[in-house]
Structure formats: C-alpha cells, structure tokens
Symmetry: C2
Subunit: 340 residues, 2 copies
DNA sequence: CTGAAAGCGCTTACAG
DNA sequence: CTGAAAGCGCTTACAG
C-alpha cells in the first residue's frame, strides 16, 4: 500500500494542498472547521510527513548526530555512553527527533563525518563527547557553522555551547573524605591524559593533596581498560611507599584494582581503600561494593539534547552546568589500619 | 557559505543538470571527458548529494534503524550492544550509510517507532534484536513490508531474514566440559525467560544434562542485572544439594556470582566453578578470571548490516549463521574437589 | 552522447 | 480564508 501524501488528503478533504499544509502545521490561514476536517482525513489515511520532503523544503532534518571515537571494547566496557544515549533519546523522542550514531577511528575521520553530515544535510546538529586538550573537532565545527553542544569542558570548547559538571568538586570531596579516614598516601589511576576532563581531575587532585598536605600522591594514566588499570594498581602497590587508597577514573579499572589487591593479599578496605569514578551495577555487585562517584549521566545527555534543540531553533541559551558527581561511600573505603 | 548543488556544477562545467547527475552516479550517458570534468568541478566545489533530495527521488534514505527496548541500566551493563553497533557501523560506513538509534519502553512503542520510520521514509530497513517467544514486532514488520533482519532466532523470526548463531552447541560444549571435570550438579542462571535465545539455551541445557545423566540441574531466570544474578546464586548455594558449577547468561551476573561465592566463603574454582556467557574485559579482569563463552559480536552486527543492505537492494540472500560461541577456559572452572 | 522537462512530497509567498 | 504556482535538490525517462 502506497503512502498517503498531502495531495491525497487535499483531494479527499476537498481543499487545496496549501490549505492542508497550513492545517497540518497549525498555521493560521485555514478555518477551524477546515482544519478539523483535514486533520481527521490525515489521521484516517495514517498520514505522516515525509522526512525527506520536509528536509528538502528547508525545514530541519529532525535528526541529531553523535560520533563515537574510541575502540568498541572500551565503549562497551563503560555504561557511560549507553546511559548518555538514553538521556538524549528521552529528550528527542517526544519531539520525534532521531539520533544518528557513527563511529570513527580518530579525530580526522570524525571531522570528516561532520563535514559529510553537514553537506548532505543529514543532521541538524551534533553532540560532541570526550573533549581533548587540543581538540581539532571544535574549530572544525565552528568553521562548519554546525549547531553543536559539547559534553564536558570548558576549557577547550571554544565558542561552542557546552553541558558540563564541575569535576574538581568531587575530586576535593573524595580526597578530603579519604584524608579524614586517615589516608596520607592516595593515588589516582586516571584515564587518557589528553582528555580535558582527565586534566581537570589531575589538577584538582594535585591541588587537593597539596591543600591537605598529603605528599605522596601519585597519578598514573591509562587507556581506561581493565588491563591497564590492573597494571597501574600492581605498580602502585609494589612501590616502597605504597598508597593506602586509590581513586580510579572508571569502574572497570576499579574492579581490576580490587582483583589485584586480592591477588596481592591486601584486604580491602582494611589495608587498601578503593574509589571508582562513575557508579554502576558493576561497582555495586563486587565485594566489597565499591565506593563510587555517582553522576546522573542520563540527565547530562538530556540537558545536551535539549540545549542542542534550542540552538537548532535559533535560540542561544546559556551553558548548562549539571550536578557534580557525588561521593557514595560503600564497603571499599575505610579508615587506615595500623598495619604498615 | 551556501552548499553547492548539482545546478552549480552544471553551470560551472557547462553541461546540463542531467549530465551532471549521470556523471556523478557513474551511469552511462556521458562521455568520459565530460564525466572527468564534472567530477573535478564537484570535487572542487566540495559537493555532496543532499540526503533529502536523494531520498525524495525514490532512492534510498541511506539509513538503517535499530530500536533498543531494555532499561538503560541493563543496556549499559552489557558490552553486547556497543559491540554490535561497532560491527554494524563498520559495514555501513564505507557505503556512507548511517545508523539511526531509538529507545523504546515496550514492544508496542517499538512497533510504533517502526511505523513512524516507515511512514516518514526515515530508514531503509531495520535490525531487530532480542526476539521474544511471542514477538509482536515480527508480524508488525511483515505487515509493514519493511526490510528487516533479526539477530537471533529462528524460531520466532517468521518470514524475516535472520542472522544467528547456534546457541545449543556451546551449551552442550560447556556442560560436557564441566561433566568431564567431575561436576554432577550444574546450575544455570539464565536471562529473561521470554527471550527466544533464553528458551533455546534452557532447552539445550536440560537436554545436555539428561544426555549426560546429570540429575540435579536447575535453571533460574533473572532480568540480567547483577542484583538478580547475586540473588539467584545465593539461592542456589544455599540449597541442600548445592551445585558445584554455575553457568551465567551474562558477565555481570557471573561477577555477581563470584562475589556471592566469596561472601559465602566458597573457593572458586575448588568448591565452585563459574562460567560466563559472552566474554568481556570484565570477565578477564576479575580474580579468578572467568571461563567464558566467547562470541564475535561485532561480526554478528556486520553480518546483519550486510544482509540488510542486500535486502534493501532487492536481493534475498540466504540466512546467515555465524560461528557459535566458543568455550574459553580460565581460572574460574576446575575439577570438583573432594570437599562435599 | 546531451539538453529540456517532469516529478518526488512538502512549504511558502502571492493572488484572489 | 483559500487556490494556484514556484521551488527545495535531485533523478529519470524522453527527445534530439
């Protein structure tokens, strides 16, 4: 069965195509009785606007894009992205807007995707994740004039809109909490060093340690895999003045750290306290359950989507700041024991 | 700067629009010299076909859709979906086809999404995941005449194309392996009972246990969360004739099971062997590392995308069967110890 | 081999 | 308040 078009409706309702268009779009220019009739016919015919025709007449595509630029094994290991999608989706769906997803191998191919999307008119705007300290995507998007909102930053977001949460507050909160438990040597197993949020956390961590006069605070960088998390943990725990607490930049590394501690026969939390950034099922399911820095990731996605939609409609709302991550203590952290 | 159109190219190259279209699409009807000139101009102008215009002229939308219908917390906990995306993407990208993603709360709203996509001409076809034993989506898609390939099944896929891997082979392989290690009481902590692949595994598990004359084989169903995985494990391990081996339907439940074993002071693998379905970073990072049933999920995604693209282009290739999951033994399984 | 024209389904001034 | 027409950027027969 052929799709119903506006022409079918016009014929059936006995009015012109133009009138149908006005009626369907809630514009003035048709009488209420005509509008009602048109709507009834459209409904009866199961009419839906052709996305292509709408887009072609200069209206919006009704699609926003998101490019992911990390190896799939890492994307899959972190619940972050899926939760972000769900938040974005929740905002898009009631406006019958769709999410277009693409994967890229590096920044250049990601930029290429943006160019293509722009030129083909495929998306109305994009949400950018994982800002780099020297991010080439930002100037590229500025040049393209593509509506975009960046999750994370500033710094590093240039003139683009951003949705972010303060990453330094939770770092200070965590270090203070651990210091209050008596920890003096706290280490951080961080993510990729070239990401802005890693840099922000690194800096906050160093500042907090200095402020609280904790000298032996080390930061080790990894690629977010459990494997590197384990290796970093092993290295830290093998050092002469080993830390009594470790803060991880994701949950899988924290679980890897927990396993290493067991391997090395260190009791958690008696001999070693562990904190994971971003809470998850995983953090809660291991024993002891992991003290975690909990964020409302879907809310971040929703805020980004809402913001982007405003941009697309010509508004320029102020940048959004979401709630900072909140420390959620569980069994993996405790006071420093006398041992050692 | 305005986007270049075919008219711009025609003018600049001094030929008609039609000629430009033929040249650009590699159709006969233009001389080689004209074609070369047109391509050069198009390239110079940075021309890209308007997705909307193409779609409107009856060509394909160049988009395939995928609807996810599970709570985001569960989607995020399993690497499966992200790995599937990456496989799909890898296949789509070279054909400049895009992936449209949508989340739905239940089957009815998922069907509604398909209807809308169809009516709006947004996608050329869809990939369907997680087939239910009484799946309303299948007849709905059949009725819509929408090109679709189902991942999983048959049974349950109706007249739709499918990409599947034999789920019973790995079940038998696992049970045989455990039996060879001396296990007589093997339990299974399964996923949602209404999913076809759960049913297939259930049946294969029961058959394998019967075949090998293992009487005490129980299957407990869960919602795939770590929490329910833990609860099921606790229940199994508290029963008078507790199992000496448990097979889990995902990695997060297996990790939860491992934690419960620790909680209950059962040594793994000496007193309890654990197997996880679907290998992952997580399975490898815990201690002992989990024996896992490993599948090439990106390959499944790629196969599904390739198959769907053929369908969209009017072919009707035979259903694809991917490699069955392969048992990958690690530290979490071992011979039954004398104790108990 | 090439040019002129119609058409895809919609929107939007422009007359009546 | 309504109808007839042009146009969005392409593709595709149809004449030359």
């Amino acid at each position: 069965m052929k799709r119903a078009t506006i022409a079918d409706i016009a014929q059936r309702a006995g009015v012109s195509q133009g009138a149908v268009s006005y009626a369907l779009n809630g514009r003035p220019g048709v009488s209420e009785s005509t509008r009602a009739r048109v709507l009834a016919v459209a409904n009866e015919l199961g009419w839906r606007p052709s996305a292509a025709a709408r887009a072609l007449t200069g209206a919006h595509a009704g699609v926003i894009g998101l490019v992911l630029c990390r190896p799939p094994s890492i994307l899959g290991a972190e619940p972050f992205f899926m939760e972000l999608f769900s938040g974005i989706e929740a905002e898009l769906k009631p406006r019958s807007c769709a999410l277009m997803l693409q994967m890229a191998d590096d920044q250049d191919s990601e930029i290429e995707v943006y160019r293509r999307w722009r030129a083909e008119g495929r998306v109305d705007g994009v949400i950018v994740v994982e800002v780099d300290v020297a991010d080439r995507r930002i100037p590229a998007l500025e040049e393209l004039g593509m509506p975009a909102v960046v999750i994370g930053g500033p710094p590093g977001t240039g003139s683009l809109a951003s949705v972010r949460s303060d990453e330094s507050v939770p770092v200070h909160e965590t270090v203070e909490y651990l210091a209050a438990l008596g920890h003096r040597r706290i280490a951080r197993v961080a993510g990729l060093p070239h990401l802005v949020h890693t840099a922000v956390r690194d800096e906050a961590f160093a500042a907090a340690c200095t402020r609280l006069d904790l000298p032996g605070c080390a930061t080790l960088h990894t690629d977010y895999t459990g494997e590197e998390g384990a290796r970093a943990t092993r290295r830290l725990l093998s050092s002469p003045a080993r830390p009594t607490a470790i803060v991880y930049d994701n949950d899988i590394m924290a679980v890897a750290g927990l396993s290493v501690a067991q391997e090395m026969r260190l009791r958690v939390p008696d001999e070693l306290s562990l904190v994971a950034w971003d809470d998850s099922q995983l953090a809660q399911v291991v024993r002891p359950a992991l003290t975690a820095l909990r964020r409302d990731v879907p809310a971040m996605g929703a805020a980004a989507a809402r913001h982007l939609l405003s941009l697309v409609h010509g508004e320029r709302p102020p940048d959004v700041e979401t709630e900072p991550a909140r420390l959620t203590p569980r069994g993996s952290t405790g006071p420093v024991s006398g041992s050692r």
